[in-house]
């Protein structure tokens, strides 16, 4: 509970400052990992477990950082997701560079 309270204060700098900074949203990160895993045809239960594990890793990484960029957040999440599901990690990483 303490950790979550602390992490709500983490600021996410979006797109090199071109969009307004926003607070870290654990649910949003979790949802994006679930979506990437589902896109890689992972069963929903497994996708949720993977997302939980990756979100926990990211929360640990964020513990002593008051401000991070969305790009760094994505890199860290991708690195941990790769260990669990390489295909999902590839889609998660590629999301911004497909078009």
């Amino acid at each position: 509970m303490t950790r979550v309270t602390q992490l709500t204060a983490v600021s996410i700098v979006k797109r090199q400052g071109q969009r307004p900074t926003e607070s870290f949203d654990k649910a949003k990160l979790h949802q994006s990992i679930v979506a990437a895993s589902l896109s890689a045809r992972t069963p929903p239960g497994q996708a949720d477990n993977i997302a939980q594990a990756v979100t926990n890793y990211v929360l640990e990484w964020l513990e002593h950082r008051p401000e991070v960029t969305s790009h760094d957040l994505r890199l860290v999440a991708t690195r941990h997701l790769r260990a669990h599901h390489p295909d999902a990690a590839y889609l998660y990483e590629q999301h911004k560079t497909t078009l």
Binding site: S39, A40, D87, Y90, L91, Q94, T97, T98, L99
Partner: protein, 237 residues
């Protein structure tokens, strides 16, 4: 130019059109978002089919529109300088595709304005109904006009010379062949293939696709220049 040569030119132009990747990228994003939000497979199929249909309809309409404009402006035989401009455009766009089609970064990011790419990406995420997917298909063809205009213009110039029935056949051939890539991706998604595999293949082969599309545009420009302009000049002499 006889009917067989004309249809061969239309076929090659349509193959070049099929090698362009913007619609494929949007289809990949659209299906990725749909699958990622636990949408049923039947709904994913409807959405992606709506998108492919939109692309097909807009391709057909655009080619018909360009042909109609040319027919009104020049009649069935366009002046030679128009053919020369079209050939120059093909070679020019071919060179541009070689150098600028993909951005020099990871992934399959294209050289289109970023605001445009963001709009298409956001719309693909927000699309929930087949009708929206259909309109996204229409829009994605317009977004690609910069690259597909050259093969469409040369096809239109070739088509207006043909008898009415063969014009329709030519337009149908162009529309069907230009949809081949999208249709293949649709079949792969429908049959449960992983999007990551499709996207990885696209990324691994992007330079080949870029080289092939640019090269084919230049070859088509040269071929039309020789078969139409040079042969006409030789015939006059």
């Amino acid at each position: 130019m006889d009917i067989a040569s004309s249809l061969a030119i239309v076929t090659l132009a349509a193959l070049i059109h099929a090698s362009f990747q913007l619609s494929v990228s949007v289809l990949t994003l659209l299906s990725g978002h749909a699958i990622g939000t636990k949408t049923s497979q039947a709904r994913v199929l409807r959405l992606t089919f709506g998108f492919v249909s939109g692309v097909g309809v807009m391709t057909l309409l655009t080619l018909s529109f360009i042909s109609l404009v040319f027919l009104h402006l020049f009649g069935p035989n366009a002046p030679q300088y128009i053919w020369a401009i079209a050939c120059g455009l093909l070679v020019g766009v071919g060179l541009a595709v070689w150098f600028f089609y993909y951005r020099h970064e990871k992934g399959t990011t294209l050289w289109i304005p970023r605001s445009f790419a963001r709009h298409l990406s956001d719309r693909s995420k927000a699309t929930k109904h087949s009708a929206e997917a259909f309109s996204l298909g229409l829009t994605s063809v317009l977004s690609e006009l910069l690259f597909i205009a050259a093969p469409m213009i040369i096809s239109a110039l070739v088509l207006i010379q043909l008898p009415g029935m063969w014009q329709l056949v030519g337009i149908a051939i162009y529309s069907v062949i230009s949809l081949m890539t999208l249709f293949s991706i649709w079949v792969l998604i429908s049959s449960g293939h992983k999007l990551s595999g499709i996207q990885k293949w696209r990324e691994d082969n992007k330079h080949f696709i870029q080289f092939a599309a640019g090269g084919a545009l230049a070859v088509l420009g040269f071929f039309v220049y020789v078969t139409k302009i040079m042969s006409d000049i030789a015939g006059t002499i």
